[in-house]
Amino acid sequence: MLRVTLPRIGTYEAWRDHARAFLAEGMRPENILWHRGGSEDDLFAQAAPPPRTVPRITVPKDFVALARLAIHHGDPERFTRLYALLCAVDTDRRLLDDRGDTRVAQLNRLAKEVGRDRHKMHAFVRFRDLGAEGPRCRFAAWFEPSHPILELAAPFFAKRFGDMDWSIFTPDMTAHFEDGDLTYTDPAPRPDLPEDAAEDLWRTYFRSIFNPARLKPKAMQAEMPRKYWHNMPEAALIPDLIATAQSRAREMAEAAPTLAPPRAGKVAARVARAQEALTASQDRIHAALDACTHCPLHANATQAVPGEGPVGAPLMFVGGQPGDREDLEGRPFVGPAGQLFDRALATAGIARDTAYVTNAVKHFKFTPRGKRRLRQAPNAGEIAHCRWWLDLERERVRPDVVVALGATALESLTGDRRNLLGRRGRFEETCDGAPLFVTIHPSFILRLPDPVRKAEEEARFIDDLRRLRPHAAA
């Protein structure tokens, strides 16, 4: 039987060095007695010699993470359990994957409790101002964690409060952070920290942020157990807040509505005037389009996407409907299909800003799928409702040729969406007898999986656009 006494400070590293050496010797877990801190004599055990330096052994990463946490648990058996698990992991590397294994589950439980205690310590330490002596301000706190976790928890404070000096006193040991150096010393009795005026402000905040109309003391205690309360300045308010909550909520509910203060009317009038001025400054057609509720599509879309381009443009390109990108930006043909369209248009020698670009349907139709929106084709009713806006745009722009990009536009402009591929590249007439050119929608090219066909179709699309060159503005 061997007895190992681990130091209070640097427990993990000391345990690791011993465990490494024991494992190399093939020492069985039940033959080692581990202690931390004071050396407790055991009649039947002899003190272990300092660990031999042995070659480093490899263990799964998970084991190191688990051991670093579990070693800070208050359970006296933790060292033995960890060493036993180390021996088991050494023969079965995949053991940690099995959370159903009793040994693994047990140590994970310890690690989880330590992890939670560390998290609560990060949250519930309350510093008090000691007053500055030099350029750095100085703070100190007394905290009682449930497990000896100071070494585990202190680096967080070092990262967070980099420009101040601080000490955290716990019953197990003390941490000091001075000029960027983190050190640990043996435990000191609870220090008498000076009163801090900021605590009154903090209590005011705590009292005011509480909503008495929704009292849930159990939910509070589940996350902020009573054992931490006596070191938190705000906790003293809790009993009173709970006791008066119901009567405060009742008073709010029963209070009769009051008359608005006199200034409310004046402010309301000013706001109304500002809104009117804003409305007056907007393009009236855009504003009316944005307010359109003729079909249900407006309910889910961000905004109506109006056409873009000069009035009197000789060419008017009509797509199907805005996509995800267009819906967000409020501009037509700016997404992936729009970029392809721009490229093709430039290759065909037509400047986009000389043409008018719009869509047959002005709102984006989609089904939400997780974090994405899947485009849905607009139905005949939606296309018909939106034709009113397209007609208005055509009347305003008066293009020489309207270009239908894809079946939706074709349906909107001719009333017939059939046989798009047979009709592409041809000149037709719209319902009201205006010249119409038919081609595909660029998104058709984007959807082709085969890169060869993609290139072919892009070339054909550019060819189609070239045929419009004579009609385009110089």
């Binding site: 294994d101 510093f127 967070r160 980099g162 009154d200 009292l215 849930k216 961000t302």
Partner: protein
């Protein structure tokens, strides 16, 4: 009017801010001040530094810059027609409070919101100024959440995104019609456009420029929003559909549901009945099912004639009881998607099951150790040594019902 002390202002302006449910300090980049040149850190997962007796986490200093407001939203305690005491912080006061609270480890950072004073741009400019002072003058590396004013100018939004970890814009109510009737000055369309704008800016900041350098970070912890539940007549199906739309359209990190709560000096336009807090909880559960468990909003509310979630049991259990033909699930063979649908088994447990069963066949006791809630899961799964009895039993549903409470004598 007598000048208010800092303590009085803090009382008024934190009281006015408490109806915003969000207090999260999670997400975004990791920063620290180990180099000694500043103060603060963010760890990515957020810390709740205290809990109020309403069960809500206190992570950030959640305050209003001012509770003066020119808008008249019926549900809001700060509306222009309310008679609450008004106050206004100077930017310096907000900065001092944030830093002094932060140094004492009371908070993770600042959540700054404001009533609209003068114009949306004036208000937003003051808020941005506070964030800039914290970041640039004081080297503050803690968390900053700014509530964005939908009508503020794009330049201000851009600057806000550079200083803040998170931006949020509240949609306030689940339907456009409700926003129009309760918040007449707010426009649902402008709120949506503002959220779209935040998404576009955030995505643009993620792209590399043509020189290969990254654009400055924009709200690394993303954007969130809040919906008030129970102030209008919208049912849970409407609310959840609305949040599905928001998640998919604007890549929101979170939608917060806030059960409408009575406010001091409330408007006569509002219902007097407070919705049960449990409703809020069920909505969050459903929200989680949609985001992490592959559920569709239609599935969750399919069996509810009134479109509201069952307050008596959690939505996953309710779904499983209504779809018993899909169960029991063999814990040793089912794929991830199927395992995620078993009540009482969460994403973590599913991960553990998948890992462990590569090596051996799992038993009932293994599931206990892996953290499954077997009280709920038991009837819906099979393991090596476990077969549930009659899944079709008529009383299965009753077994999950809460214990009847004995009435007390009066």
């Amino acid at each position: 009017m007598a000048r208010l002390t800092l303590d009085q202002k803090l009382a008024i302006l934190s009281d006015a801010a408490k109806y915003d449910a969000s207090c999260a300090s999670s997400g975004g980049q990791r920063r620290d001040s180990r180099d000694g040149t500043g103060i603060g850190s963010t760890t990515g997962s957020g810390i709740c530094h205290a809990y109020a007796p309403d069960g809500r986490c206190i992570s950030l200093l959640k305050i209003l810059m001012t509770n003066f407001c020119i808008y008249d939203c019926a549900y809001c305690v700060n509306r222009v027609s309310s008679n609450v005491t008004r106050a206004r912080f100077t930017p310096e006061e907000v900065v001092t409070l944030t830093l002094e609270f932060y140094r004492r480890n009371y908070i993770e950072g600042l959540f700054l919101s404001s009533g609209i004073i003068r114009t949306p741009d004036d208000t937003m400019a003051d808020m941005v100024r506070i964030a800039r002072m914290l970041r640039e003058e004081h080297g503050f590396r803690g968390y900053i959440h700014l509530k964005t004013i939908p009508d503020a100018s794009p330049e201000l939004l851009d600057e806000a995104g550079r200083y803040a970890d998170r931006l949020s814009i509240n949609v306030e109510l689940p339907t456009d019609a409700a926003v129009r009737s309760y918040a007449p000055e707010k426009s649902p369309a402008r709120i949506r456009k503002a959220m779209a704008d935040v998404r576009l800016r955030k995505e643009a900041a993620g792209d590399k420029t043509h020189t290969g350098r990254r654009a400055p970070r924009f709200a690394p912890a993303g954007q969130s929003t809040q919906m008030i539940v129970g102030a209008d007549g919208a049912n849970d199906a409407t609310i959840l559909k609305s949040s599905t739309r928001l998640y998919s359209s604007y890549k929101l990190k979170r939608v917060y549901y806030s059960a409408f709560s009575p406010i001091p000096d409330s408007s006569a336009a509002l219902p007097l009945v407070q919705p049960p807090l449990l409703r809020e909880h069920r909505l969050y559960q459903a929200d989680w099912l949609m985001r992490f468990y592959g559920f569709d909003v239609g599935e969750i509310t399919a069996n509810r004639p009134d479109g509201n979630l069952d307050l008596g049991k959690d939505p996953k259990l309710a779904w499983a009881l209504a779809n018993r033909h899909l169960f029991p699930v063999d814990i040793n063979r089912a794929d991830r998607e199927t395992l995620l649908r078993v009540p009482g088994i969460g994403t973590r447990t599913v991960g553990r099951i998948l890992k462990a069963r590569r090596h051996r066949t799992l038993r009932y006791e293994d599931l206990v150790r892996m953290g499954a809630n077997l009280k709920n899961a038991r009837p819906f799964l099979t393991a090596l040594d476990w077969r549930p009895r009659n899944l079709d039993a008529a009383d299965l549903e009753a077994r999950f019902a809460p214990q009847p409470e004995q009435l007390s004598l009066f």
